[in-house]
């Protein structure tokens, strides 16, 4: 434990977040995502939802200021009636913490898998909602 760091964040996750640079991506995978088979670096966060992790992580780094859509969602498969109310939750957190009104790019399921394979890390959460996967692109941190 450290002062000022959320207890949701493991030492390994904190290290990965710090090692990432401008334009590196991290995936927050829901409980059904094939994380272990797609990750270059797999970080477990069993039993946690994505919203609370998102909130903790956005306190630690900004989203990429050089692209229009620094956050990617997995598109609902055409024909699948599943609703995705959790996207609204994500939008509120990002708006509040990063000031972005419309940060989302929707990525087709198998393209999302390919992009996840190239990410710096995949965080395997226990998020129960469907289509709840999220990719964040890290931004530039100005010199203190």
């Amino acid at each position: 434990m450290l002062k000022g760091v959320s207890p949701l964040i493991s030492p390994e996750l904190l290290k990965a977040l710090m090692e990432m640079g401008h334009s590196d991506e991290i995936v927050f995978a829901d409980g059904n995502f094939p994380a272990a088979s797609h990750a270059q670096r797999l970080i477990r966060a069993d039993g946690h939802g994505v919203p609370e992790l998102l909130e903790a992580v956005l306190k630690l780094f900004p989203l990429d200021q050089y692209v229009d859509k620094p956050v990617a969602l997995m598109q609902v498969t055409p024909g699948d009636p599943t609703e995705t109310p959790i996207w609204g939750v994500y939008g509120d957190i990002i708006h509040k913490q990063a000031g972005l009104a419309s940060p989302f790019e929707e990525v087709e399921r198998f393209a999302f898998y390919e992009r996840a394979k190239k990410a710096y890390a995949i965080v395997a959460t226990g998020e129960g909602a469907l289509y709840a996967n999220l990719i964040l692109k890290k931004g530039v941190i100005p010199a203190g």
Copy 2:
């Protein structure tokens, strides 16, 4: 040993089954399959048949609900008179446990090898029946 988990399942197999996500595949290879040369993760189950392992595994996860044929069999080589009564045994178990009447896709021998190479794990069983190899595609587990 754990309460409620079949003693046929090794700790390593249990961990692999849990790490798999939606659409990851696992191969149950018969005793003659070239498992060690094709596996990304090799899990030994020497001396056990495939039916009892199949039965134990289907208690732990559902088959992929997003595809028509979530189970693959190795096609009998054209000209080979071998019979495959064990396929009926597999069908009964899957029907009973997963409620699927017609889950099987038949895959040509060398295409089956290629697909096995991409699977999350290969379980090397001691199954003595021929053409007894099986690929399962894991499904989505709804939030409890």
Copy 3:
């Protein structure tokens, strides 16, 4: 994820629980315990409290039937006025799930450290309560 296994339990923790045998011990360490420096096998469970993990684990194995006190607590340092209401929570869970009325042995702080070093694994939780560390001794599972 697996059917019937709590999402709080990571694949690595599940594997360790299964590998343990009669009389092996596992430590559930609170957020301030020096877990990384004392563990033979370190398993992270950041952000989770001990009570919910205890409840999940006791569904998977029995406590040691061959000793009187199969659970150890870290004794409050003499002179420290800290209260330990969480011990009552532990007692209720163990009573409900394992039927034991008085399972606790209190172990002096530095003796507890030595015992933790010999345990099969230490689970580093995010439990915020003080003196909330717990050692469980696994029991015999009768043949199914």
Copy 4:
């Protein structure tokens, strides 16, 4: 698989049996034995009983001809009423295969644990019987 080798025996077990020399010991641990925490080399044989493994192994090497009791059992804890009918099964197999009428040394539980720690390997079986652990001491194989 190999011609003439029991399918119960994994490649790793076969290699260990061959690497052992005169006076090296191997433990066949029942399903409740703390095998993972005591083994220098851990070999899994989940789901198998000890008698069938014993029968297969005694075809591959002789017991130590230089000691009186080349086989050790774990003594029943004083006061424990458990019966050990499986010891008779072991005796019959050893008598039939190795021609020894009285091969058993009984070793107190915690002394057995210490001896298991020094063994060349521990085979973690799924044997459900209690007090079913067995240590074999390998003998000299005369030049063919």
Copy 5:
């Protein structure tokens, strides 16, 4: 050492032979073959000739029954006057042990190198004869 296994066969070779499945290949390389640079798994058998190893190995598994030529030889380079009397020795051993009269496929030197790279293992022997390299394709072992 094990009863019934040739002392020429090392524990590592025995394990590899057992791990191989139907259609996996193993190379027995003569003393001049670039074995270390081409092997996925390198197994040393310094000081031994190929014929005695071949004889020992054919007692442990059958050759592939699904192809016409389950054994490959390295073709003599056009223009090279070297004789290969050892091929006759190989033919006699294979005929005696596997009942095959004409098992050999001749493979051009550099194609042989490429095929050796894909084999499950290369056994680096001390065979002094030239063009004495051999590839065996493992067959199906019927259930006992």
Copy 6:
């Protein structure tokens, strides 16, 4: 880089600081300390002085509240006329950040070496001052 974390702190150091628990120790070694030969975990911070690292680290965790002297210095060897003005710098930083007026225990040189061997990590700084080594004992962080 992360928002709110000093750029002096490497990802590896941040991870180690977070993994440490109550009573774990970390050594900040000056440029002449035999850090590589004494460290269980060696973390390089070449080119940095100890005061700026101390200041950054004390923002991340409290010193041990359960001992009187949570900070150790290496005692000047008797007879050595070296002055240690840097100790005053350390005292000021600790007073300002941790509110402790008299936190230092002086440890004889070779006893300091032994204690450093048991520390969770040694940070090899480039501090040019002599007798500038420092050991910090981490305290308890109250639940947020």
Copy 7:
């Protein structure tokens, strides 16, 4: 520490500089560069600026005498108004130490990433200036 070597240079960096040969490249990455995801060998130099590292390194090896532009900079993205005064600082150091007046090649951002992936090492500095990344190509050292 060694006599005559800048304390800014870690043992690992010194070793890498020495292992490099004619035409090998090393990247000095600013604090926002995605160093960990692009490096074949990652060397941390947290908290240090690039100019002081450049000055120390140019004392240890010459730039490539066989190419016109032995130093590469990351081009400012078209449309980005950021100024790069640090390039002048780099120019002065290189002019003073290596006698080159015009050593810089500007490389487009994504091409720079690709080239960094092939470099012998990436040094992750804490440089706060933007577009401050630098690639050096090592030259020939004449026999002493």
Copy 8:
């Protein structure tokens, strides 16, 4: 293979022989010796007898000139009627190659085991003779 080096000697054995210095010991273990459980470095020489290896090795280094008995044998267990004609073979080889008439020290069986554990390497031969184990102590090689 190398010119002038016996094909019995594997690359790994040759490297070990060269790495050894004055007073280092190497064990040539017969086929029944518990080599894998006692060796710091295990080198396989399956299928070879000790005499031919001894002959090859004595061409590569001298025996220790600083002790009276640079070769150790395992003493026959009191009461065991086994004869050891192979000791005469060893004596002849050592006399011919090293000019020593009486080089042997006899070491009690369990003391021999302890000494073997400290040796630089154990060579696991296939020697079929009993009590055929041998320890060689390497001597000083004068500058060429």
Copy 9:
């Protein structure tokens, strides 16, 4: 050290030379060659010139008898006035030891780099001469 082996040759180099087979290549790289970045196996020989290593190595194996030019040199870059008197030294050694009058193939600099990447090993010497890199192709050693 071993009798009859040049003290210039390290145990690791001797092992590599022995592991190589017919047609495997080894690079002797001068002090400026980018050896560490191109080698599959890097063997250090700091402080030694290539001629003395060449002389020692040619005592251990023959050059490839199946190709016309079993030795490759790095071509002088067009326009570079550097002389290469060391090539004459190499020629004399090879003529004396291998009886070849005209063994050299000249390879363009970047093609030489590509070929070095595929070699079995690169020996990083301290040779001070320019364009002094050498590739040897190992020949067939006839059975003793």
Copy 10:
């Protein structure tokens, strides 16, 4: 290669010298010393004598100023008539470079072995002189 560093010094040796701190020891072992069996870190310098290495190393660090005898030699075994003229060579180099007139402590052979085991590194040279082993204790480097 680096400007100003002797080509006798390998990258690995340079790194070790830099990692060492005040009071760490390094052994320069002659060609007959059992270096590989005694070293915590083994660094090869085959084919080089100790005097030239000593000269190069003393340019990089001072000897320990806190002890009377910062250099240890291996005492000639009583009764051995060997002369040690190389000690005079060592004395001259140390006097010239470090200004010490009488730096040597003589250590009995087996005590020397024990001390070598605790050294930070052993450099295995090809020094042909007998009793030519040397231990250096590193001193304090004042801040530049």
